[in-house]
């Protein structure tokens, strides 16, 4: 992978795996049966929907493939994945629809 050496990649894999295990083990293993405060649970509940959209926004709005300008295939494919996923509540269907939209539009436009 461009810009990353083998040891660097393995460092990320192992560090991410270890940190993820610590998170998963936290209450089960070390902290015991104590309840988490409600305000903390309330914030943790939103981590995926808070972080993932921020992560994809630049890739959707300013894709590298077009040199950072708005692109119809990227925008419409993203809208399709989001729309189908919200409507059908089905991630696999959403990913299939989004990918198909992207590949078709890119071939046509």
């Amino acid at each position: 992978m461009t810009g990353w050496s083998g040891p660097e990649i393995w460092f990320i894999i192992v560090a991410l795996g270890a940190a993820t295990f610590v998170i998963r083990f936290s209450f089960l293993g070390l902290i015991g049966n104590r309840e988490m405060p409600p305000w903390l649970l309330r914030h943790l509940r939103y981590t995926p929907v808070a972080i993932l959209p921020a992560l994809v926004t630049p890739a959707v709005l300013w894709p590298e493939a077009t040199g950072g300008t708005l692109s119809a295939p990227h925008l419409l494919a993203a809208a399709m994945a989001l729309g189908i996923g919200y409507w059908r509540k089905n991630a696999v269907l959403a990913a299939g629809a989004g990918l198909a939209t992207f590949l078709i539009l890119r071939a046509v436009i």
Binding site: T2, W10, I23, Y46, L55, H74
Partner: protein, 243 residues
């Protein structure tokens, strides 16, 4: 032996109840394998992610930031942040499995993913009379359709990825995968508000180098989601959502 029979029964019940999620773990595991090898990871590295980390969204997050040449610390912090919700899973499982032995709890923790957690906790809540061995057996049953599938599907995807030319433009599969995971999770007004805040804050912070805007955007959006939930009550559905 009666207890033996009930734990075996609980194991297979867990496997059956979690069975439909095969249709999630399979395609997304394969997708990670494909885009991972397309991005230039070798098969061992792709498998390393799926076996050591087993957390789809954070694997895709790490991959996407590595492709952006973000600094290692940003790659790790962002991918770890995506998994913070699992502390909540851990706390909720601890209420049921806390008295189990340490190695059993460690094994539960390793396989504590969205689907195994959700299916198990629903069962524990529905059947308060379950014994600890039954609860453990049920949890390990839910892992059967998910964990091996995730790893095998990643491997198959990696083989496919090595055969697919990079010019197909499958790199956009990563953002698509994220949006597909997020959209069905927009169950309440609070989730919708958090996602909208996340997009707006990402645009506001887009000028910062090295994806440094991701953390403040994520934290800000988390606060927005929690605050909306606090004001509206947890179960408030967004307009048009099915019950």
């Amino acid at each position: 032996m009666a207890t033996q029979t009930t734990t075996t029964g609980a194991f297979w019940r867990g496997a059956r109840d979690c069975g439909p999620f095969l249709l999630v773990a399979g395609p997304f595991g394969a997708l990670f394998g494909v885009v991972g090898t397309e991005a230039g990871l070798n098969i061992a590295e792709v498998m390393g992610f799926s076996i050591v980390v087993i957390a789809g969204a954070s694997q895709f997050a790490a991959l996407s930031l590595m492709l952006d040449q973000a600094p290692t610390v940003i790659v790790l912090l962002s991918a770890i942040a995506v998994n913070l919700r699992m502390a909540m899973y851990s706390a909720s499982l601890a209420a049921h499995l806390g008295p189990a032995r340490l190695w059993q709890r460690a094994l539960v923790a390793y396989m504590n993913v969205d689907q195994t957690y959700a299916v198990s906790v629903l069962e524990y809540d529905a059947k308060p009379a379950m014994t600890l061995p039954e609860k453990l057996a049920y949890f390990f049953g839910t892992c059967l359709p998910i964990v091996p599938t995730w790893c095998v599907a990643t491997y198959v995807g990696a083989l496919v990825g090595e055969a697919v030319p990079a010019s197909w433009g499958l790199d956009f599969a990563v953002p698509i995968a994220f949006l597909s995971m997020v959209a069905p999770a927009l169950r309440t007004m609070a989730h919708v508000a958090a996602a909208a805040a996340s997009i707006l804050l990402a645009i506001a912070f887009a000028g910062l180098p090295y994806n440094l805007g991701l953390m403040p955007a994520g934290i800000g959006a988390m606060i927005v989601g929690a605050e909306v939930e606090r004001r509206m009550g947890h179960a408030f559905p967004p307009p048009g959502a099915r019950p």
